[in-house]
């Protein structure tokens, strides 16, 4: 019998071929990595242990595309953020992605903080973000009339932007996939051996061979290295960040991203709009051992709400839409841990703490250069295909505004039946409610599924690993 099984992202055996580059982890960094190496002409495969991509650190963040004005001068992080920003700027329109240039203000609320603004201003200029400027309380009030009058002064950062934190990495991976990369979901790495220049990794879906491995496993990056290399090049201590999302009506209360004056440990609590039309407050910064427990906590959430109201007093009458928590893959150092091991054909990409979304495209370029330095070459794709992402941003032209979208399933977020059905299909099918939410925003609005869960249970009945319901 001679037939070829079609390879599926979500089930069956892995590829028998030896790929050039095997990427572990389909978070935002892994997705950008897969895209870069594919475009550069490498044969790429990417492994993800969860049922859906973006299921670790990348599932929850503040969705800001940073300029790098406050990154450590001279760091790899700064270089990657700056290059990531530049590349996103270059590609987003063609890929159907969004970017809202709302700008940011670093606001000082105490005289101590006012004293620190000068240093942040100088650092921004040192980092090459020259349009950053100091502004007075009055200028700040003009720019942000709903901000508490207790604000003393600020720094304006005109080009800080907000983007869709899920559609962007989906689009990166979709482009990789469209141009030949293979995606394997539910494929967690459990070990591996390196022999005669070829890696053989064992996974929950069998083995896979590659010439080079790039470890983008995020929160599990060190564990993957312990399992495969015997020891890790870095150590991850998950840092939890909780967020509160306010009703869409609250988004008209601010224009820009309201940043605090950072402390040595964390950037602090941010008030930001999302491209989906919400207003959010967060994150907290809590070190923990668990790499998967993204619990919210009533007291922490109440403190975030109080912080938001202190900064934007009119938030007090705004309903809460959602709570979420994300885990940042912090390492023992502040700097990114991008560590090539030429002898082992292995590159560690770890400790991408909290700027992964901004830095991802730049990190991918940086890693490709390291790969080239190992003496490796491919023929760059001449006319790579560019798939167009489904737009979910509030202000964009959405599917419900077009004909024949079927019923509106989620009325709060205006998600159409057609969008849901498409997201459940190949090539990157949603196989969990969380994955479907990231691809469509279904149930993410103010009613949190009160109106649409029943229809959704019916529409998704044969698609999810953990079904929403069973037949009575």
């Amino acid at each position: 019998m001679n037939f070829q099984m079609e390879k599926s992202p979500s089930q069956g055996m892995l590829s028998n071929d030896v790929c050039d580059v095997l990427i572990i982890g389909a978070g935002v960094v892994g997705c950008a990595m897969a895209r870069r190496f594919t475009l550069e002409g490498a044969r790429v495969a990417i492994l993800e242990k969860a049922t859906d991509i973006l299921d670790g650190a990348s599932k929850a963040n503040s969705a800001i595309l940073h300029t790098g004005f406050d990154a450590p001068p001279g760091s790899i992080e700064l270089a990657c953020i700056r290059e990531g920003y530049r590349e996103y700027q270059e590609i987003y329109k063609g890929m159907g992605l969004v970017k809202e240039d709302c700008g940011a203000h670093v606001v000082a609320w105490s005289s101590n903080e006012v004293d620190n603004l000068e240093g942040i201003h100088a650092q921004a200029h040192e980092n090459g973000v020259m349009d950053v400027r100091l502004i007075s309380a009055k200028q700040l009030q003009n720019a942000e009339p709903n901000l508490s009058t207790k604000a003393l002064a600020a720094i304006a950062v005109p080009r800080e932007s907000i983007i869709d934190p899920w559609s962007a990495p989906y689009a990166y991976l979709a482009q990789a996939q469209k141009n030949g990369a293979e995606v394997f979901l539910s494929a967690g790495v459990s070990g591996g051996k390196f022999d005669s220049g070829i890696w053989t990794l064992s996974t929950t879906r069998g083995t896979i061979k590659a010439k080079h491995v790039i470890n983008c496993a995020g929160l599990y990056g060190d564990l993957v290295e312990e399992a495969v290399l015997g020891e890790a090049n870095f150590q991850i201590t998950p840092r939890k960040g909780q967020f509160v999302v306010f009703d869409k009506a609250a988004s008209k209360l601010v224009n820009s991203v309201i940043l605090p004056v950072p402390t040595s440990r964390t950037i602090g609590i941010v008030v930001f709009r999302t491209v989906f039309g919400n207003l959010a407050v967060g994150p907290t910064a809590e070190d923990q051992q668990s790499r998967c427990d993204a619990s919210v906590d009533e007291d922490a959430v109440k403190a975030l709400i109080a912080d938001g109201i202190a900064k934007i007093p009119d938030l007090k009458d705004m309903p809460i839409t959602a709570l979420y928590a994300g885990l940042r893959p912090a390492s023992e150092l502040k700097e990114y841990r991008i560590l090539p091991q030429a002898k082992k054909n292995w590159i560690s990409v770890g400790g991408i703490r909290s700027t992964g979304l901004s830095g991802a495209l730049g990190i991918a370029q940086h890693v490709f250069k390291l790969y080239q330095k190992m003496g490796l070459k491919h023929k760059k794709l001449k006319n790579p295909m560019v798939p167009i992402a489904n737009v979910l941003a509030e202000k964009a032209h959405r599917d419900w505004q077009r004909k024949d979208h079927g019923d509106i399933i989620c009325h709060c977020e205006m998600v159409s039946e057609r969008e849901i059905k498409r997201a459940l299909e190949e090539p990157l099918p949603a196989r969990s409610l969380a994955g479907l939410k990231r691809q469509t925003r279904v149930t993410m609005g103010r009613c949190q599924g009160f109106y649409c869960t029943a229809r959704l249970a019916e529409l998704t009945k044969d698609h999810f690993e953990t079904p929403l319901s069973e037949k009575i």
Binding site: A294, F450, A454
Partner: protein
């Protein structure tokens, strides 16, 4: 006979947003009052509202003098509206409501604009989801409001879990018990934060009848699990915590008006009721817009909402005939002090209270958060204009007759009326 809405015909007189009991009865009443074009915009495939997925008794005692199950009741209200000549635009989401009754609606054919002389918001209420209750724990599958559970069971024939815990004891929580029994789910406990069951007797006997442990003075503090709910952590009045194994959580009640369309638009929303701020005819801050039913305040039964819709229908008809006082005219703002959670209406006119069709609401509705006995006082500035000793419970509306409020102390007819309820030891 009723017919489907056709955009190309004559201008719309009244657009009703929401086809639940209140919206349907307002629309029916308007047609009966001789208004030419009344269109109900309903985003679901069928009109009827929440009763559509409450597959149990008793609905319709007030309207049909006979106990019906929710879906049968909803169908009867729709049939009655159709007989009266109400037009229906189903599967239609109203996405924007602007000044001058200018609406933006969306169907599968795409978006379109239309306008109506008057618009009635009848978008009802929904239960507070987990997020707004600030419940600790990871995000897990199997945490639902009663509304979502019931539409899953009665409209799709599916169930999300088998051994849920029911949180809350409002009337809807007992509806959840019936839904569980219908779909073969066995609740493991029912939990109430207060010292007594919120719903009135004899509903409170339900858990006992169904052999469900009822835990009083117990608060849900955390939901635990992996992909699905595994257990919950509760805390009792003494501050002791314990865990309860379960595979689901039904979050019942704590209703909030679904006022997002107004909130996102130009209508003033009252932070206390969380519904539109209205005068005694249900007129919003833009007098082209009216609000009715549970959207005005949480929460009354379907029958009561139907009754309110009927009155709103009469008032809107009167307004179209130019019989309501001009909106700009001086009115008394109404507000409450803590212990009371809201007052509705939020604006009261003291004139034109004679004719039945333009009298407006006869009472101010008030509610308390916790059971309290004391003196309910209405005042304007320093002057007490009304007082009465009452015993109030959260599940019972308090009604103060507007006619009894002596506003003569307010020289300019626009002094703020403040309600307070002072506890008596």
């Amino acid at each position: 006979m009723g017919k489907a809405f056709n955009n190309d015909e004559a201008p719309i007189d009244v657009a009703v947003i929401g086809g639940g009991p209140a919206g349907l009865s307002a629309a029916t009443t308007l047609k009966q009052a001789g208004i030419a074009r009344v269109v109900v915009f309903e985003r679901e495939p069928e009109a009827g509202g929440i009763p559509r997925h409450c597959g149990h008794y008793p609905f319709g005692m007030r309207e049909f003098k006979w106990p019906l199950k929710g879906p049968a009741y909803a169908a009867k209200l729709v049939a009655r509206a159709k007989r009266a000549g109400v037009e229906f635009s189903l599967n239609t989401s109203v996405v924007e409501a602007n000044r001058s009754g200018l609406l933006r609606v969306v169907t599968s054919a795409g978006p379109k604009s239309l306008s109506a002389k008057r618009v009635i918001y009848a978008t009802g209420v929904r239960e507070t989801p987990r997020s707004a209750r600030l419940v600790s724990g990871p995000r897990v599958q199997g945490v639902l409001n009663t509304g979502a559970l019931q539409s899953m069971v009665y409209l799709e024939g599916r169930r999300p879990f088998k051994r849920p815990v029911i949180i809350g004891t409002e009337l809807v929580a007992f509806s959840a018990i019936m839904t569980c029994a219908h779909a073969g789910m066995k609740p493991v406990a029912m939990i109430e934060q207060n010292t007594s069951v919120t719903a009135r007797w004899p509903t409170a006997l339900f858990p006992w009848i169904n052999n469900i442990p009822l835990l009083m003075e117990t608060k849900l503090v955390e939901i635990k699990g992996g992909d699905r709910v595994r257990e919950i952590v509760v805390r009792n009045g003494k501050g002791e915590t314990r865990t309860i194994e379960c595979d689901g959580v039904i979050l019942t009640g704590q209703f909030v008006p679904e006022a997002s369309l107004g909130r996102m638009g130009h209508i003033k929303v009252d932070p206390a009721t969380r519904g539109p701020s209205v005068d005694q005819w249900g007129r919003c801050s833009d007098p082209t817009y009216f609000a009715t039913g549970n959207l005005l305040r949480p929460v009354e039964t379907a029958g009561r909402s139907w009754q309110e819709g009927k009155q709103t229908g009469l008032w809107v008809a009167a307004d179209l005939a130019g019989k309501l006082p001009h909106y700009e005219q001086k009115a008394h703002p109404v507000r409450v002090e803590p212990t009371l959670i809201y007052a509705m209406p939020q604006r009261i006119y003291r004139n034109n209270l004679d004719a039945q069709d333009v009298a407006g609401m006869t009472h101010v509705q008030l509610r308390v958060v916790k059971p309290i006995k004391g003196e309910l006082i209405a005042s304007i500035g320093e002057h007490v204009i009304w007082r009465k000793n009452i015993s109030a419970k959260p599940e019972r509306r308090i009604e103060v007759p507007i006619a009894e409020l002596d506003t003569s102390t307010s020289s300019n007819n626009q002094g703020e009326i403040v309600f307070s309820l002072v506890s008596q030891a």
